[in-house]
Amino acid sequence: MKKVMVGNHAVAWGVRLARVEVISAYPITPQTQVVEKLSEMCADGTLPARFIKVESEHSAMAAVIGASAAGVRAFTASSSHGLLYMHEMLHWAGGSRLPIVMVNVNRSVGAPWNIWTDQNDSLSQRDTGWVQLYCETNQEVVDTTIVAFKLAESLNVPVMLMLDGFYLSHTAEPVDVPDQELVDRFLPKRVATYKLDTEQPHAFGALVKPDAYMEMRWMQQEAFRQVPEALAGIEQDWARMFGRSYGAIESYRADDAELLLVTSGTVTSTARAVVDARRGNGEKIGLLKIKMFRPFPTALVRDALRGVPRVAVLDRNVSPGHGGIFAEELRSALYDLPDAERPELFGFVLGLGGRDITPAVIDEIIEQTRAGTVPSREDLWVGVNP
């Protein structure tokens, strides 16, 4: 069934098809349509979930932690300051190894106030023990919401899915809504490995001393090590049933490329158009989309970028005092490639607080990358008028 829908409604459809049992959320721009649509679905019975309308995002995350610990499939959504307010409980969900799925609609962080997109909200939650997946289209949002539950429940890790505020959350696109019966076959009802059960009482999250805490963190790390392979397998099943898949990363027209753009989120679509135009002129320019930021797909990006002469990383985020966050992660991932195979990496910080990233901006980045003799130690800020 094809429907035209905005990204936020694509989230709600994914949640409905995944037959989520408990939802808890608090409204924040630009995520509000997610909670509105889910409220409608719960009210009209098309989604028989309990929706706990809490007084804060901190409580929203706490409530889905309680629900997930008691054995059901649980979901929340937030953005920006809401996500930051959840921070403590993001760690608690990660450490509790609960297969919660949440959507974060990427929005900049104050001060000063700004409601438009960038990735500093979710990237600042990098170390909380959540898988992070960045989506490019509304179709990818619906599909990934369902895939995320399968991934989360297979390894007992929480999964956070991102879509760009307004550029995707409020943009309508045609979406092929997956068939419910097929989704049910793909994602059966959750059977919790461990849960709060009065028949088999256990204590969860009790004080753990130094002699065992590290082993628990190691087990968490082990689970994250398995994520890339698990996601690939799950996506294979998804592709067999629905004919679509995305991958942790995607190389686009990258064969024999002399320059690769590296993107995440909706900038990818703009970059695809630029790459198509450049390829039309016979220029050897391609694209690498990074969908999965945590765990960082180190082996995959190393293979994708090995031997490419120049790479331009587009970061819609910044770590003050350091640089673009994807660029930093990539430098680290590529460090141990042999010199002859290691690309020259040019980092660009752009599009913060929702500033438009047009094809002309990407053209400028391409020219700067070509013109550069050696990459600057500090990432270049694009379009800034200090």
Partner: protein
């Protein structure tokens, strides 16, 4: 060997094991034992950070023989809301969800999530065991610390300057089905309140005065006696409020002078006669107000 006779109204059970890690004389495990043995094994405990995080025992042990979910400081009522929703979705409507929190987690950092849960009338029982300061971190003041008390953050030269927050009134103002005060020093009264709470649905709140010998600077064997004195001197009256409307005193309060109660505790040792008189005047004023309210509801006389 003398025989101890236990009041038949006190339920027996083994839902709290003897190997817990409370300080000598702590009233909290006794209260937990009374509560859990009254509620029974079909209970799930949500436990935000508090002394009881330690008392319940480190992994892989647990002194509570029911499922426990340990959670971050501010989140007891929100986690409990999620557990409740999940149980209901699984058809387990008869399982009790008990939140067990200290005064810091209730009066201070957890007040927002508690207010949210109460406003939604979540079907949970919430017990605040109030030892009147952050005892687990080493006796720092909370908004449950009484006026004039010494703590490590309110030294004797400048003791606690604010009166204790009126938590029962705050909860009653949410018009929840049940709000009550209690103490393990009056076990039958406490057990009856837990029984009454268990028979109801919606948010049920019990504010429990829980003596802490290291924090109150009293002997290990003095806690329960001090709690009785707190009740009888009307420092901590035994009350229940149904649906925010019907206020009722659940026992007779003698109206003893507060001075012996204060003088037995090191945390009040620095108080002058004038300061003690000031405390007494405050108690008398609050009592007069309370009696008026109870009489207005005209259910039971005082």
């Amino acid at each position: 060997m003398s025989q101890v006779r236990i009041d038949k109204r006190i339920p027996q059970g083994k839902l709290v094991a003897s190997g817990h890690l409370a300080c000598p004389g702590c009233a909290a495990p006794l209260a937990m034992k009374l509560a859990l043995n009254t509620l029974g094994s079909n209970t799930i405990v949500v436990m935000p950070a508090s002394c009881f995080t330690i008392i319940a025992g480190p992994w892989p042990q647990s002194s509570l023989q029911v499922p426990v979910f340990h959670t971050a400081f501010a989140t007891g009522p929100a986690v409990a809301s999620g557990v409740r929703a999940a149980l209901d979705q699984q058809g387990k409507h008869d399982t009790t969800v008990l939140v067990w929190v200290g005064d810091g987690g209730t009066f201070d950092i957890g007040l927002q999530s508690l207010s949210g849960a109460a406003e939604r009338n979540e079907n949970i029982i919430y017990v605040c065991y109030d030892n009147e300061a952050y005892m687990n971190t080493g006796i720092q003041r909370s908004s449950a610390t009484p006026w004039g008390a010494w703590t490590t953050t309110t030294p004797a030269q400048f003791p606690e300057a604010s009166p204790k927050k009126d938590m029962l009134a705050i909860m009653a103002a949410h018009n929840i089905p049940y709000a009550a005060t209690a103490t393990a020093a009056y076990p039958v009264d406490f057990v009856e309140k837990v029984q009454k709470a268990k028979a109801m649905r919606g948010t049920r709140f019990i504010h429990l005065l829980s003596p802490c010998p290291p924090g109150w600077k009293c002997g290990d064997d003095e806690g329960l006696e001090l709690a009785r004195m707190a009740v009888q001197s009307r420092v901590f009256p035994m009350l229940e409020v149904e649906h925010g409307q019907r206020w009722r005193l659940t026992m007779y309060h003698v109206g003893e002078s507060v001075e012996p109660y204060l003088r037995r505790q090191g945390r009040f040792r620095h108080l002058s006669a004038e300061q003690v008189a000031h405390i007494q005047a405050g108690i008398d004023a609050r009592w007069a107000q309370l009696v008026k309210r109870v009489e207005a509801d005209s259910l039971v006389g005082v």
